[in-house]
Amino acid sequence: VLCSLHGLPLPSSGYSFHDIANVQIYMYTPRLYLQTMVQEQILSWYYGVWTLRGSSGNIQIFSIHSFYSTFLLLKMAVHGPFVKIHPVVLASIADSYERRNEGASRVIGTLLGTIDKHSVEVTNCFSVPHNESEDEVAVDMEFAKNMYELHKKVSPSEVIIGWYATGYDITEHSVLIHEYYSREAQNPIHLTVDTALQSNRMNIRAYASAQMGVPGKTVGVMFTPLTVKYVYYDTERIGVDLLQRTRASPTRTNGLTSDLAQVASAAGRIQEMLNTVLSYIEDVLSGKVMADNSVGRFLMDLVNKVPKISVEDFESMLNSNINDLLMVTYLANLTQAQIALNEKLVVL
């Protein structure tokens, strides 16, 4: 039996509940309490699925797809479901992971950015030294405050919006650290970056926290996932493109190319794209692939983009442009010759 939240009717079936008589979900302003009819049950977050630990000790696992969607909808009341990350932040995190102290298995740090109505944008970060052992964790809060002050001097519009940690899981220590950060910012975001590449990927995930538990009894914190998007400024995208090309070279190095070579490589890229499109068209024509209307529309846009100008007009435009450029080149060369001459004359 489930009540509706925000006017949204929830399906009462479609979960695979095992051996739980009744689960009721209450809404309590932005926080969520999960009350179970069975006493003393703890709903906790283990490896991405809900588990309910029964009082007799047996563990039951739900599939929670519908749960997810409802939690996400709830989360929209607090933050939007989007976290926008700039590549600078990820590069910083990777770098500080590489420089971690001996024996530290993970690094943590503060995230800075801006909040607007629907999403959070993370634009900067710095790492904070911390010590973590089996049963305790110590974070250098003075340092964090100092760094934040310094950063504020440069970009006064950035505020603390959360913190990051490398590593795959969310441990109990994370909860403590998260609590500290909730004092600094409302609704802090927690970002995890799996630099140890546990699942052969660098999982970059963001979470927001919410209280949950049995009211009056044990209260816990639950981390709900948020969608992560990558945003770039234009210049950032161009920088990242260059860095992408670096990764292809065997020695992991790359020089910055010079003028005409860049145009040539851009032309090469367009040629590749055209080849892909052509092969797709040939497949469609020979019947191997179903024709898709939207793709067809894009193709028509593409072909129409080459403007139809009469030959004479185009020739005159081309010539005038070329003349401009040649004249400017000539002037530039002339100026350079002049100052070289001047130099020589002075030295005489």
Partner: protein, 328 residues
């Protein structure tokens, strides 16, 4: 001494910078430096064999009027101390600056770079050109003062004779250090992730055909500089003329003196006392040539940029022509 000179010339022939630095510089300009203000910051890294490696950087806040008590040195010290805690290299290896259409050759830059290079021999200034980058490809250059220029700055002898002695031309002021970007393996993984998640990049800025705006601005800046240059040249010319006139006058005076003395001797009178001619004909002060040198260097820079730009555009125009006439 000779060995030392050789090692300082061959030191740091190349420079490698890390992904993080590039991204940070781009971001700093984007957020804080709209318009034609420059943004600056400090580069951190270390020297490895014959390479200078830049591993991190942090930005300087802008100078605002209401920030009179802002202490740059304090900020820098605190920042470096904090960074040391998190194991970031805290060796100061240079600084970076953004530029507007390539106009960075100025007195201020020279002074700053000189003070940096005086302290740390291999330091460089990294010039980031955001407008050129927005046109399609990252424009990041590293410069260092040549040893000759360092000598001159040390002695502060900017007179024409001094510069003539050092035989320095505007081309020998800065030497460009080639940059190489290195990625660590973890960074590579990050790049793969980003590539997957992000959409196909809009790379069309590089191939856009519009050029007049950029050309106009560049030419305007070039014209301003050329004007300044011509003023300096006029100043120098007038100085030369004055000097030669004075020489002539001195000569004439001496001759007259001699004639008079000869006359007096012939008449039997005591000769006139030798006067100190150098006090009478004080030579005019020579104009400092450093500014002229800087302007010449700047003009050279503009011309280089313009030529690069035009060569790119010519290529693009010919490509457009090929599109229009596929048969030709």
């Amino acid at each position: 001494a000779l060995y030392q000179q050789k090692s300082s010339v061959s030191a740091s022939k190349r420079m490698s910078s890390v992904v993080l630095v590039v991204l940070k510089i781009i971001k700093h300009y984007q957020e804080e430096g709209q318009g034609s203000e420059v943004v600056q910051g400090v580069l951190l890294g270390l020297v490895v064999d014959d390479r200078l490696e830049i591993t991190n950087c942090f930005p300087f806040p802008q100078h605002t009027e209401d920030d009179a008590d802002f202490d740059e040195v304090q900020y820098q010290m605190e920042m470096m101390r904090s960074l040391r805690h998190v194991n970031i290299d805290h060796l100061h290896v240079g600084w970076y600056q953004s530029t507007y259409y390539g106009s960075f050759v100025s007195r201020a830059l020279l002074d700053s770079q000189f003070s940096y290079q005086h302290a740390i021999e291999e330091s460089v200034v990294l010039i980031y050109d955001p407008l050129k980058t927005a046109q399609g490809s990252l424009c990041l250059k590293a410069y260092r003062l040549t040893p000759k220029l360092m000598e001159i700055c040390k002695e502060k002898d900017f007179s024409p004779e001094g510069l003539k002695k050092a035989n320095i031309g505007y081309e020998h002021m800065f030497e460009e250090v080639p940059i190489v970007i290195k990625n660590s393996h973890l960074m590579n993984v990050l790049m793969w992730e980003l590539e997957e998640k992000s959409t196909m990049a809009d790379k069309h800025e590089l191939l856009s055909l519009s050029s007049s705006n950029h050309l106009e601005k560049s030419l305007q800046l070039l014209m301003d500089r050329v004007d300044e240059m011509s003023q300096e040249i006029v100043k120098y010319n007038s100085y030369c003329r004055n000097l030669s006139k004075q020489q002539q006058q001195k000569h004439q005076y001496l001759q007259r003196r001699q004639q008079e003395n000869a006359q007096r001797q012939s008449r039997g009178e005591p000769p006139l006392p030798e006067e100190d001619i150098s006090k009478m004909f004080k030579p005019p002060p020579p104009p400092p040539r450093m500014d002229t040198l800087l302007i010449a260097g700047q003009i050279n820079n503009y011309c280089q940029n313009v030529k690069e730009f035009t060569s790119q555009n010519l290529g693009k125009l010919f490509m457009a022509q090929a599109l229009q006439h596929p048969s030709s």
